[in-house]
Symmetry: C2
Subunit: 359 residues, 2 copies
Amino acid sequence: MPVSKTQSPSLAPRQATAHDVARIAGVSQSAVSRAFTQGASISEEMRQRVLDAAAQIGYRPNFIARSLITRRSNTIAVVAGYLQNQFYPEVLEALSQRLDRIGYRILLFPADPLGDSDPILEEILRFRVDAVLLASSSLSSRLAAECRRAGAPVILVNRTIDDPGVSSVTGDNVAGARLIAQFLAAAGHRRFGFVSGLENSSTSRDREAGFNGWLQEQGLGAPLRAVGHYQFDAAREAARTLLARRDRPDAIFCANDHTALAVIETARHEFGLQVGGDVSVVGFDDAGAASWPSFSLTTYSQPIAAMVEQVVSVLEGLLADPTAPARQQRTPGKLIVRASTRLPASGLSERDGVRTWRP
Amino acid sequence: MPVSKTQSPSLAPRQATAHDVARIAGVSQSAVSRAFTQGASISEEMRQRVLDAAAQIGYRPNFIARSLITRRSNTIAVVAGYLQNQFYPEVLEALSQRLDRIGYRILLFPADPLGDSDPILEEILRFRVDAVLLASSSLSSRLAAECRRAGAPVILVNRTIDDPGVSSVTGDNVAGARLIAQFLAAAGHRRFGFVSGLENSSTSRDREAGFNGWLQEQGLGAPLRAVGHYQFDAAREAARTLLARRDRPDAIFCANDHTALAVIETARHEFGLQVGGDVSVVGFDDAGAASWPSFSLTTYSQPIAAMVEQVVSVLEGLLADPTAPARQQRTPGKLIVRASTRLPASGLSERDGVRTWRP
């Protein structure tokens, strides 16, 4: 596409071209191209001659020019926010290393802090990314369909939407939260609390539904509830709301670990409560500081390596065949029991220093 | 550059082109280009006609094609690792939001865990990024020069190299560490320890030099020393080494906050020491959990917003004029005093709930 000069304030120094390499090596431009293309037919002798000429003048194949021909940019847009929640940097680092191994790069877009990333999709698509991973964000069915039409399939990571046409990879939110309810009841708790994340997030909603569902099936009533927005300070405020009540809960399930750490800080340092004795606190993720001795958080794990493998599996399927049906993957986790909760009389087992619980 | 078919396993669906838009809108292709170029000369009526036609068929200007003409990709490579150290996700999120405002995107490359990112530079340059930000990594002078020649100036973030030709943005490592030594001595400490980061990192080296320099000038001797590699588990092991000694230090300066949090965990939960009483622990960053009540870490701050502004200022200078001289920026911080250290008798002041110390 022609572009007016107003977009071009200053040019980088002229770079060596495939033409220059061909001239110096005394080969055709097509041979230069083949020398830099994995699996292409070229003799080892000619390949070496091309590589030597390229090294001599500092030539590199231009991935951008190549992407116009292959219609592949070898970049994956990742929309991620909430990086103060250590789960997301861990996912980002694992994804970045894993995609590196299959030749893809992450183009990072900041997430809308309100969890609604729709407006920037338009811009993402201009970069001709090969796919879009939305971590910590959701999007509308309409925009997911638009991305698909634009040749950039979307995968939601740690979120879902109610549309069988959109792929997603999540932890086992409903089953994990049901297991947490069952665990707390087995430990003798009867006054339950829940600190939510963002109200519009599927993750918080599914975890709350699982937790409340099991409690209600057992006739244990609905938990007290406060909104933590997945933000540390808001979660501390939510903890104050719950713990200042005369009928305060003695078992608080938090929509993720980051929220649970905030609740522990408040229970311990503002209310003088012994966490794991006076009050049990449970999270969801098993990320970051959850395993540090100061928190020793009981939590339902979302195993990041396994989730990243599922993301890559779904991604490779969609890259190979953009018309393939969407997949909604759930990665199972475990209820990892540490010192932030009272213990039930049975169901505990330990392996490799990790204690888990099953009813 | 021509590319053989082996690189192109499947093509995305055909996308609408500027030619299609021109035909539907009944205008020239040049008018389509001008309609999508900020500041280009085009009537509002014609611009609207083009935008309507583009919307009708889902056309978007192709940033990749454009970048071949402008030789700008509007992407900045960021090499970042150690995301378990909350300082880096905070920097990454702030950078991503700030660069977004000036129209640049981050292409994320994982850092070599050993802190030597040289090998992947070759690949970074193939993406024709406009600049390279190396966070948590360094590189050789030779490779920095090669990047400059390739039209992608390098800025080191939170690292330096001994080359006036390479730009960098860091905190005030030497002055901050000197102030920490002075603060600990003022609080009455005489048995000092230092837990280093990566031995080859300029940041750890500069902080150690500042700390030791002040102590030696005062005739207070060299601190005991252990290597923490900037890794949580290695830092816990380093703390064990120091604290198990009969002449164990009662004041430990750690090369960053992440290391200091590990030292606190070990001192408190393995040695039963009261942090801030039996032993003082100081970090460097003021990031992540440093301010949480469980740690309440005394630390020298690296103000992320100010550092990101300096990165953007250096970056804009280099983008406007790639031949501009390199700049080495130091962002001053403050010694923020919390409960992880004993207090000196004088020099403390408090403002907006933040307590700082000056001699």
